[in-house]
Symmetry: C2
Subunit: 515 residues, 2 copies
């Protein structure tokens, strides 16, 4: 076998079932191997940031790594923004990067660059293979690094000639290391302090799922503790009937009073909350100085199991959770389309078990409260604040869960960074419905401009925030890449279009024009 075939076989043998790729010359033998080795499917993306976001979305939905394949340093450069989000999501990803042949590395050819240096900002494990017979083992060890809890982007750099050389030995199958529970001592110690509304639990990491919410909700009902969730956790179980932790607000003005009376915060796969950005005259750290912070479960541990053990320890296993929101939402009357009316329509029509990729940015605050009333669903937020993840993550989630409807709630400015994802969604015929919030501004920057104290900005500054002039036509952009699209400016139009998209399978885009 060639090195490329060994690599692909090692991936497939380890259950890496899909490789999101944008290959070049150095990766041709890997591509050729797709027809010779079964078990790992190639999915072509027209921009590397799409590969990275798709692998992140796939990992968030399955807990298993996808592979990505990109071409040399600059190709990896294009993947970094979404790999940054994957890093913050602790998503396992096997990032394979083709390199020049070994004998070519001594020359300063045009594409020569320090690939490992490109990888390091997003990947703590970076390995360059230099011998054909090492390919199999290196691939397995890269997979091991990717899946070791809590998960990471692990990078494997392979010179082209290793791919075409004869190589020996597939890499071994890596046993998946389970997450450990915290010690009984930790759980008992935390349980003794679950006594007051001045005590909080902060859920993050993998511990914002159904089981974790049930346990946390019972703890809240039984002991009075308050339960918060990290708004940047990779995957949040949401919707009616579920216990809904308090999402820590984005802006410090809202977050600080909410947390002001906390005396003790227990972290479940999370960290003490800080603001997204630093601002003049407000702190980054959101807890009161006197609040004690204790880790119930590290990011590498089983936070869900820890919450269940805590619930048992507190004797809260039969507590009845008060869910404020249990009635299905209803579609609002016709009128001009707004973020709020979109939220109401989506909440009313979202099917059960949908996956919502959330890159709403400025409109999220208006829409998210409605989704608490939607049918139970999973929300995939932007974990690392790097925009351009919404559509790629949805693509990966749809590949992972072909039987679930995927809805992208997507700001227009952010959508432009990785709009190429639409093409792959069309090609793979995925059940992804993208709603573009077309306010034609970097609206969040209007807010941030004021908050950072840059008052009274003028027309030149305004032009750097206005993404109209000319307006982007999302119907054209989407259909230009093969995804059927419509535009809506009223509630009735949007309801009809979104309803139709929910009722059928397949890729659709709706440009929702709002103020």
């Amino acid at each position: 076998m060639t090195g490329a075939e060994i690599l692909l076989k090692t991936l497939a043998g380890n259950g890496v079932e899909v490789c999101f790729m944008n290959p070049g010359t150095s990766e041709m033998h890997f591509v050729a191997a797709l027809d010779k080795v079964a078990g790992c499917r190639g999915v072509l993306c027209l921009f590397e940031g799409v590969c990275a976001g798709a692998a992140d979305g796939y990992a968030r939905m399955t807990g298993r790594p996808a592979a990505t394949l990109v071409h040399l340093g600059p190709g990896l450069g294009n993947a970094l923004a979404n790999f940054h989000n994957a890093r913050k999501a602790r998503s396992p990803v096997v990032s394979i990067v083709g390199e020049h042949t070994r004998h070519h590395l001594t020359y300063d050819a045009p594409l020569s660059a320090d690939i490992a240096a490109f990888a390091r900002p997003v990947s703590e494990y970076v390995r360059t293979v230099m011998e054909p017979d090492e390919v199999g083992r290196a691939a397995s060890e890269t997979i091991a690094a990717a899946i070791a809890p809590p998960g990471q982007v692990a990078t494997l750099i392979i010179p082209a000639d290793l791919s075409w050389s004869a190589a020996d030995g597939c890499g071994p199958v890596i046993a998946r290391a389970g997450r450990m529970l915290p010690s009984q001592q930790t759980i008992s110690s935390v349980a003794r302090r679950m006594t007051s509304t001045r005590t909080g639990l902060l859920l993050g990491g993998t511990a914002v799922n159904d089981r974790a919410l049930l346990a946390a909700g019972r703890l809240a009902a039984d002991t009075g503790v308050r339960v918060f969730m990290d708004r940047y956790a990779p995957r949040l179980a949401c919707g009616r009937g579920r216990f809904t932790p308090t999402r820590i607000p984005y802006f410090p003005e809202a977050a600080l009073p909410l947390l002001a009376d906390l005396e003790h915060l227990f972290l479940v796969e999370s960290q003490a909350p800080v603001t997204f950005f630093g601002y003049p005259d407000s702190p980054s750290y959101l807890l009161p100085a006197a609040c004690e912070v204790t880790t119930l479960a590290e990011r590498t541990e089983d936070g869900t199991g820890a919450l269940e053990a805590l619930m048992e320890e507190c004797g809260a296993g039969s507590a009845v959770i008060a869910t404020k929101h249990s009635a299905p939402a209803s579609i609002p009357a016709d009128g001009p389309l707004t973020a709020k009316s979109i939220g109401a329509v989506v909440a009313a029509l979202l099917p059960e078990a949908a996956i919502v990729s959330d890159e709403m940015i400025s409109v999220g605050g208006d829409v998210l409260p409605y989704l608490i009333d939607a049918a139970p669903h999973d929300e995939l937020p932007v974990t690392g604040g790097s925009i351009g993840q919404g559509i790629p993550v949805a693509l990966g989630a749809a590949m992972a869960c072909p039987d679930r409807k995927v809805v992208v709630l997507q700001a227009d400015g952010s959508a432009m960074y990785t709009l190429q994802a639409l093409w792959t969604i069309a090609r793979e015929n995925l059940d992804v419905v993208t709603v573009i919030f077309a306010n034609r501004r970097y609206r969040i920057l209007d807010v941030e401009m004021r908050r950072t104290g840059a008052h009274g900005y003028g027309e030149l500054a305004n032009q750097m925030i206005d993404i109209g002039r000319p307006d982007l036509d999302w119907v054209k952009l989407s259909t230009g890449m093969g995804v059927a699209a419509t535009s809506a400016t009223t509630v009735a139009q949007f309801s009809k279009q979104f309803g139709a998209a929910m009722a059928e399978k397949g890729a659709r885009l709706i440009e929702a024009v709002i103020e």
Copy 2:
């Protein structure tokens, strides 16, 4: 003044007239300063790779740096691919990157990342300012680093709170360091060996301009030396009436015999030629082992002046250059559109002093020979092999030279990496005509697949190279971003559309559908 105003004023004071930007929260005060400080204009791009490519194009046409402004590590990540090309072009660029506030840096906020690590693969000068009063001087020193011959991407990282803090002192105006001539001894020594067709000159860097070509052409006519040019030089003077050096072929099969009888190669702002990629059974180094290599002018030196001095030293100043190509090209008869017929039409209709941004990839070999007969023009090739530079570099060139027609000859696959550049071209109403070679494949990979020895690839591999299914509709993609567009499938249609685009000013795109 605020730190942001100091920064902008220092840029303007140093003749940095334009800043291609995609700002975020951390850069809001810099944006606000645009209305307070004159002299440096903000140009909004909807993706950071567009900023980087535009700055590169601007620098190639002016020799002066533009600034770029991007948001934190991931924003810089998106710029790296085109900064890689700028690095290989030795383009001076002042890359400004916003960072979290200083007090926020101690927290692991979602967007926290090692920005300097993101910058290093493309930027040898990376500076993080940590005090407001250092902003002005740091900006000047970054400019100095950017413009020091041969030129580079120099990076300045600025925490957000420095931008809103009161700061003292604009940075000084940096004197532009001239390029030095090589020593008289070097020139005399080279002149003595300008005697035979087994001697070659290889022009690169800034030394493929009118003056350099005139001197090199006279040297060739007078002494018989052969003149080559680096196909990856940042800017090539081309077209009829000009001396045309031999472009060293892309593939080693063609390059090796061409160079086989060379006994001595003199480098002018260039390096000994190597292949683009390494291949099985063919060497990367393209010169015969016995060929001596001597530097006439380093990349930091004045290669053009060196060629002129050499010409004088050889007494070749009045030699008559044999230009094979002097008749204007003519438009071919109607028929199905091909890369060759497009080449002929473009050569016939290209106006004098046009700027051609060349990202043709697989069709370049068919088109470029025609352009030797076109009116005198400048060609901007892909210097670092990182695709997605064609349209952004054209945008920057058009900002630099508003009175010159800019034509982008652009492969479809490569165009998809940075198609967002079309929006800025529309907004700025630039005179840029983009021709998309729509062969709907990564065609170059068909060639490379064979060359790397991966014969007989199957349908799964083919799908990773086929970018049809669905076809991209470039008329929709372009008009969706505000650039008028048409499609052509015959020579007559293309001639008419391209002719109309040459006859008027403004942004246009032509989708040229070819096999």
